[in-house]
Symmetry: C2
Subunit: 554 residues, 2 copies
């Protein structure tokens, strides 16, 4: 790097210093100079087939590495990317979105520039609504401060940031970046922490004294904020069972003896539902409880039993403490409350009772038997290993995956709340970039796969090795259970042949249990290449979770 810094080079350096190792994106004329800065940096620039997929990749990457980045051109690029950033916002994933833009001098002209809706303020306005911080760099003197503030806010709040970099600003001189030590710690009000922790401690002690139980919901914010060790220590201190949600599955190890399953109301394991809904105190630590986590209105947690701690506030029953961070609440509560108040009870039994491997009889292979969802997941459970990152797409994949027993050390990624179909294809690419020593195992329905399927191309180009299961039931099966119509049927692809079009290896088709066995053996025998597996299912075959939803009284 020359002695003279530019705004573009400054931004690239700051991304690197923030922890970004890979930047995803699609080139376009308004962002090409910044792409040169990225190429000149120590980061890897990963071109994706389109912007939406690039955003999903950055999201998957950020869920593992703590921050991700994507760079695109103006309007045609920025607007195509939007849904990925909106999803990252909803799910609290810190993705930095950088968009090129016309020269700052163009704003004053009457020229109609290509790729534009006609108003140079629009894209920034749009992104303001779905990011923590959205800045336009219009002055090289102010740009460094704006960049630092936007990245810092993103890291602190675990939400996306938007940085708009006009063509002329890319090459404008600015100060050297120097050290970057962003203050990303959320600050508490000490008195509020003490009062809140005291009240929670009293509730827990009263419940224990009355012989009642408590349960912890281990939420995804604990992971985003780097607090999983502290959370686990508190849970072990209390001794009570804990559950996770679709968004936080594997935030704590599922092999932990206090683990009691993934809570999704009446859609999930019944014993998990009982463990949560009948506990005298439900201590939710960092969970973003959406309608999905509550089993799409099939679950109910009595407000007078609920303590909900989020990144920077605590809600107890019907009152709220502001400026109490999750970190401080966990630390203070652990000091305040007596250890060993509770026992996990029959959690171990309950937990395993929910598992595929324990539903009905053990898995005995019947090679000629047509494959079903139930048998597929039962078999998959024993395939999964510590090195795996399981990615489950919106629809029945994520619902079915809830009950999969994940080995200690493995990771689970899903858009458990925003549920944008097709997210996993990009996220698989990003996750593998973020954790090169791991192998992604991706579960994606056929309808979801069709939205973003081309990103397998980048997976092939980077010689990544995920095992991708396309669950082919000829349509949007979840919608068949919600509200059926002809529109839920889709064109049936020869999915297994798609990777070859992209220069990848031939895929496999699974129609029977024997085929599945062969496919899993093939995946294990080919640890270094993409394994694309089409699983052919009956049109109405679905997980127990989805079937319960179909029968639920909503």
């Amino acid at each position: 790097m020359s002695a003279q810094w530019t705004v573009g080079a400054y931004l690239a350096r700051r991304l690197e210093q923030a922890g970004v190792g890979h930047v995803f994106g699609v080139p376009g004329d308004y962002c090409l100079p910044f792409f040169d800065d990225l190429e000149a940096s120590a980061m890897e620039l990963v071109g994706t087939c389109n912007e939406l997929n690039g955003g999903y990749a950055a999201d998957g990457y950020a869920r593992i590495r703590g921050v991700g980045a994507v760079a695109v051109t103006y309007d045609v690029g920025g607007f195509s990317l939007l849904n990925a950033i909106a999803g990252a916002h909803a799910e609290r994933v810190p993705v930095i979105a950088v968009s090129g833009a016309p020269r700052t001098t163009e704003a004053a002209s009457h020229h109609m520039l290509h790729h534009m809706t006609g108003d140079l303020n629009v894209q920034h306005e749009v992104y303001r609504t779905i990011t923590e911080s959205a800045v336009r760099l219009l002055d090289p003197l102010r740009a460094p401060e704006q960049i630092d503030a936007a990245i810092t806010a993103s890291l602190r709040e675990r939400r996306p940031a938007y940085i708009e970099l006009p063509l002329d600003m890319s090459r404008a001189a600015c100060r050297a970046p120097g050290v970057f030590s962003p203050d990303t710690v959320l600050m508490s009000d000490r008195d509020a922490v003490d009062e809140a922790a005291g009240e929670v401690a009293d509730l827990l002690e009263a419940a224990a004294a009355a012989g009642n139980g408590a349960v912890v919901i281990a939420g995804v914010e604990a992971h985003r904020l780097g607090l999983t060790a502290e959370l686990q220590a508190l849970i072990e201190h209390l001794g009570c069972p804990f559950v996770t949600t679709l968004s936080s599955k594997t935030v704590l190890s599922e092999a932990h003896p206090q683990f009691a399953g993934v809570y999704i109301g009446a859609l999930g394991c019944h014993r998990t539902q009982v463990a949560v809904e009948e506990a005298a105190v439900v201590l939710s630590l960092g969970a973003i409880m959406s309608d999905v986590d509550l089993g799409l209105s099939t679950g109910h947690i009595e407000p007078l039993r609920l303590v909900a701690v989020n990144s920077d506030n605590v809600r107890i029953h019907h009152h709220v403490y502001q400026r109490v961070t999750l970190a401080d609440l966990i630390a203070t509560l652990r000091r305040r409350v007596k250890g060993g108040l509770f026992t996990a009870g029959s959690a171990e039994t309950d937990r395993t009772a929910c598992r595929y491997a324990c539903v009905g009889a053990p898995y005995v292979l019947t090679p000629a038997r047509p494959i079903t969802i139930a048998r597929f997941y039962q078999r998959l459970e024993s395939f999964l290993a510590e090195e795996h990152i399981l990615l489950a797409d919106a629809g029945d994949s994520v619902l079915a995956a809830a009950d999969l027993a994940m080995p200690a050390g493995s990771l689970f990624l899903a858009q458990g709340y925003y549920l944008s179909i097709g997210w996993t294809v990009g996220a698989t690419l990003g996750a593998k970039c973020a954790a090169p020593s791991r192998r992604p195992v991706t579960l994606v329905g056929d309808g979801a796969f069709q939205t973003t399927a081309q990103e397998l191309s980048t997976i092939v180009r980077l010689r990544q090795n995920p095992v991708v299961f396309v669950m082919n039931n000829e349509g949007y099966v979840i919608e068949r259970y919600i509200h059926d119509g002809r529109y839920n049927d889709i064109n049936v692809w020869k999915y297994s042949r798609l990777a070859e079009v992209f220069g990848g290896p031939p895929g496999l088709v699974v129609e029977t249990e024997g085929d599945l066995e062969a496919a899993l053996a093939h995946a294990q025998a080919h640890p270094d290449e993409l394994v694309l597996v089409e699983v052919r299912l009956d049109r109405l075959d679905a997980s127990q979770t989805l079937k319960r939803f179909g029968h639920a009284d909503r």
Copy 2:
């Protein structure tokens, strides 16, 4: 339809009455009841692989039929669609975007609903910035009036509308739709029309008296507003040459004796540039002159020679008449100005001189010669027929296609200004739905194709018959000319095999002129099926237009 109307059924009926025959979209839980209304209507519901492609399809459809529609679910659907609607806004294409939404009662609850960024106002706010009219239907009593107003504004202004239909509103009772006769005529100020037309007439007559020439730029608004016959009559009355732009190519027949080429500054045919830039009066009628139309800053029209008439205003030199519609200006000018003031001069010679068929020697097949861009287009020109709709994607495809001589009666579609790569794949689907008796011929670069390639699946499902040429030069060739870097290279697909994955016929590969001859013969021998042709080109092969741009002093 039962005697009792609902808001969803009302909206479906109004779309039909507005002229929509096909609605594109992707189902999702927030829009499923409306999908039932669409299924129950006389319109065809065409499911697409993703929302962006559905939006592009509706855009391509609307360019032919005068109005198009797309329906999606909330947030995950609405945000994924955005770029297509932004493009339609920029290019003045009336696409009605309908988005499902959570129940109106949810707005008051504290529930976090899936697919949501957390604020039920956001999506509407975002769409307000890129549509003519954006409405949320929150009250069944007001909904009919809001729907009528939004559709009317879209038709009148030739811009998209956004209609948000919450789940509970879909089924809410409302009044019967009755007749729909939207007032879509833009109104003029009569005195302003007379004064403007008088001033233009004086300018034209003075130029003719001085022995100087004039030229008309036939713009895309003339087509959007249904004024092409009136425009042609005026041009014939004046007798001067006319040109089109990338956005308006084929708005008037290219076989017309007064046609003088597609103007794109110094990037296009030199004689066309001279015809425009040296005319004493440049009368632009409905052209949206963007930087692209001006040859990306290589062209210059002297403001003191320019009369720019748009849908509802006239700019002469440096002054503006408001509330003068294109329709009234054309009609009044024709009455006011003397006929036969000008002659098209050597336009016929100029025109043909720009054509591929006349560049250098006539096309003599050399079967073993590797195919080049120049030879491809030269040969394509004689393949094109009256029944064809030529779609040219952003990048070198649209630049190269500018000089193609289009047969009388044929159509040309391109996003000549917004230039979102990949638009043609969806637009091909939509164009064929809009004009079933025509055959689309699609020119798309490999980089553009990769963004939206899956929509070939829907083309296969509907048994459509486009001829799709994927121009494979292993990357974004236009960017190699603008600003090169490794990022302009992409993964090379086996493009010709992609349609088979979707259940379509095998594709063809063109490496030589002999291959091209065989591919064109195959297309003619298979008039009823998709013909997918990969054209393998040198990495830096490009049209003369792009090469001029690469060498231009910008």
